[in-house]
């Protein structure tokens, strides 16, 4: 059993008590809600004549269902409009702060909470969305919950939950140029499998993790759930504190110093005991792309689609299902695979640094003929910063569409969807069958830089060749 890890310390502090069934009643420091998983929870509350216990610890936004081309109200889709209205009404009735469209603070829930400084080290955070693990990047213990649990947190600001084991994922080395946090997490999931983390919280650490920016750390923790781990977290450090300082909800003055002292005391250290540890080396990782229908079906850009005989026996069925769904053959190279749609966005990779990286790749180039390419900022703040830096112009000049913030084509709850068997290069987190809105649509997950490269070439491409060409050119001009 783990001891003295950040997870243990935060868990202990938030324990309200033991429930008769044996699980822990855990206090939730921050509850994030959105339009998809909250309406039924509010309805249940009303049915039982209960009220929201800590409205000031509950924060709402709208993200999944918002259209990204025309956000004029009422929305063209009456169902989407009804969901948003229901959320607005629930928030105003219960005194919950709602970051709606046009407030300058709306966006994907996992993008806005960190940028508003709501997400802080040492908190417990819950949200009716599996990618809540994102907030672990700050050293918070954050997990996705279902609607019944949303109801529980609304009613009691606490949850009935069992403690997880803690696995340390230790990453030595440093990511090479053209290789990003997304490649690292896809590599980890590829190695440990989609259910390797079931029953665990993943603590990501080691030199390679230390070098990552806050936004890159969020990409890592965001996808912990895709490896089966309900929580992923990183011990807070200077990078964390610098990101937080000055954000609207971050502590100030004296309180800031007190906060840092407390945050430091929470970190895992030599005294920490983990349930187990898995080691990786970042230096060896290549740009990584999924070829199949689970995030673990990923390969390096230089590799080819694996033979099912080379994989563990229990993966044979899902591998064959993936060949047939994706229309790919074992042994086929992934590089060069033609694509139809390029999507840059989502809570995994829709932050400002992601847009900057992608913009650098596309600057001065043109999207290949016949490709639909679009960029969806993760939040209104991201959009504003990008426009300020002229990224929207770079993208538009290259032939990308520039959209309004939302979940967009990460999932099929708004007008952005694949059609038929279209194949997308996507910076999102799930390549499940039908995930992007067409029951036969196909998704290749990759870093935003790789999506940008794919858009320019019209096919899956090693983004590192872009850097090489640039330096070749510059050496020629010299």
């Amino acid at each position: 059993m783990s001891k003295n890890t950040l997870y243990d310390k935060v868990w202990d502090l938030h324990q309200v008590g033991q429930l008769p069934g044996g699980s822990t009643q855990l206090f939730i420091g921050l509850h994030l809600i959105h339009e998809v998983t909250s309406p039924q929870a509010f309805a249940a509350l009303k049915e039982k004549d209960l009220s929201v216990r800590c409205p000031e610890r509950t924060i709402a936004t709208v993200d999944h269902i918002v259209p990204t081309n025309n956000q004029q109200r009422p929305f063209a889709d009456p169902l989407a409009e009804e969901m948003l209205r229901t959320l607005e009404m629930n928030c105003s009735k219960n005194g919950i702060k709602f970051h709606g469209i046009g407030t300058g603070q709306q966006g994907i829930v996992h993008v806005i909470a960190p940028e508003l400084g709501l997400t802080q080290p040492g908190m417990t955070i819950a949200c009716g969305d599996s990618h809540t693990s994102t907030h672990g990047a700050f050293g918070a213990i954050a997990f996705g919950i279902g609607t019944s649990q949303v109801r529980d947190v609304l009613a009691s600001q606490s949850l009935s939950i069992n403690k997880l084991k803690v696995r340390r994922i230790w990453v030595e080395g440093e990511l090479a140029k053209g290789v990003y946090a997304k490649d690292l997490i896809l590599h980890i999931i590829r190695t440990l499998g989609v259910k390797g983390g079931v029953g665990y919280a993943y603590e990501f650490g080691g030199p390679a993790i230390k070098l990552l920016s806050m936004e890159e750390r969020m990409t890592i923790c965001n996808m912990a759930i895709e490896g089966g781990a309900r929580c992923g977290y990183i011990n807070p450090d200077q990078v964390t504190y610098e990101y937080l300082k000055g954000r609207s909800h971050a502590p100030t003055n004296d309180a800031w110093n007190k906060a840092i002292k407390w945050w430091k005391s929470l970190c895992s250290d030599e005294k920490s005991i983990f349930d187990d540890q898995v080691n990786f080396n970042a230096t060896e990782i290549a740009p990584t792309v999924t070829w199949g229908i689970t995030p673990a079906q990923a390969i390096g850009i230089d590799e080819s689609v694996p033979e099912s005989s080379s994989l563990p026996k229990n993966e044979k069925a899902i591998t064959e299902e993936a060949y047939s769904y994706m229309g790919l053959k074992a042994g086929q190279e992934i590089s060069g695979l033609a694509i139809d749609v390029c999507f840059i966005g989502s809570c995994t990779n829709g932050r400002i640094s992601d847009l900057q990286t992608a913009a650098e790749i596309v600057k001065g180039k043109r999207v290949a003929k016949g490709i639909k390419a679009f960029v969806v900022p993760g939040s209104e703040q991201v959009a504003k910063a990008a426009i300020h830096d002229g990224l929207d112009v770079i993208f538009k000049q290259a032939g990308f569409e520039w959209r309004e913030p939302g979940c967009s084509m990460c999932l099929a709850m708004n007008p952005d969807r694949l059609e038929g068997r279209q194949i997308s290069a996507s910076s999102s987190n799930r390549n499940f069958k039908g995930r992007q809105g067409s029951a036969s649509g196909r998704t290749l997950l990759m870093s935003p830089a790789m999506v940008a490269a794919a858009a320019i070439q019209g096919k899956v491409t090693d983004v590192r060749t872009f850097f090489k060409t640039n330096s070749d050119q510059s050496s020629k001009t010299l």
Binding site: L13, V16, F27, G29, Q40, Q120, S130, S158
Partner: protein, 205 residues
């Protein structure tokens, strides 16, 4: 379609009914209920939409469409069932179709928790036993089974298979305390005490 009055309530000690087997590992919640059906402010219509895309693809041959499976209450699945999105719409859709208990080799955690919160036990079974159970269900789909939580087994008149359910959830199902809300709110004082000792709720302003 079932009405809410027949949904699980109180103590859940046994489920009697036919089994329906759904083969495949890593069946994610997007497949159980595709995202477009999440556009709703209540769960009512979900029972008809369960596995919508898979069913369409199989054109009448999906287990959930085969007439003989109609009315089945116990769902038999393989490994890592319910992975992916946290949507409670997934167990809601299964429940509204008629499923009252699930037996599988393993379950994704959030899905498992969501099922528990609805009073739907998810029991695990060893792979070899599972193969035998599936075989037996396939051969005689109309056999009535008894999914007994006290004995931790699923049986019919001829055979029985061992199941396991973690102690905490099992206790909650058997004694009817799986509906956590009332237990959680009854601890008001302890919640206040916890709030009082959290630095970020007291000292950081």
């Amino acid at each position: 379609m079932n009405t809410s009055s027949t949904f699980p309530s109180g103590e859940i000690q046994r489920i009697k009914g036919c089994c329906i087997s759904l083969p495949g590992n890593d069946i994610d919640t997007d497949r159980i209920i595709p995202a477009r059906f999440l556009k709703c402010v209540n769960f009512e219509a979900l029972g008809e939409q369960v596995f919508a895309d898979d069913r369409k693809e199989l054109n009448g041959f999906h287990p959930f469409d085969i007439p003989i499976n109609k009315g089945a209450k116990i769902l038999i699945v393989n490994d890592n069932f319910g992975c992916g999105s946290s949507r409670e719409h997934a167990p809601q859709a299964l429940m509204r179709w008629g499923i009252r208990g699930i037996i599988g080799q393993s379950f994704a955690e959030i899905f498992y928790g969501n099922c528990l919160a609805l009073g739907i036990p998810c029991a695990t079974i060893e792979r070899r036993e599972s193969d035998e159970l599936v075989e037996s269900v396939r051969n005689k789909p109309l056999t009535e089974w008894d999914f007994d939580l006290n004995k931790l087994e699923v049986s019919n008149n001829n055979i029985s298979f061992k199941l396991s359910i973690d102690k905490g959830s099992l206790g909650m199902l058997i004694n009817g305390s799986w509906d956590a809300t009332s237990q959680l709110i009854s601890q008001g004082e302890k919640i206040d005490k916890t709030i009082a000792k959290l630095p970020y709720l007291n000292d950081f302003f």
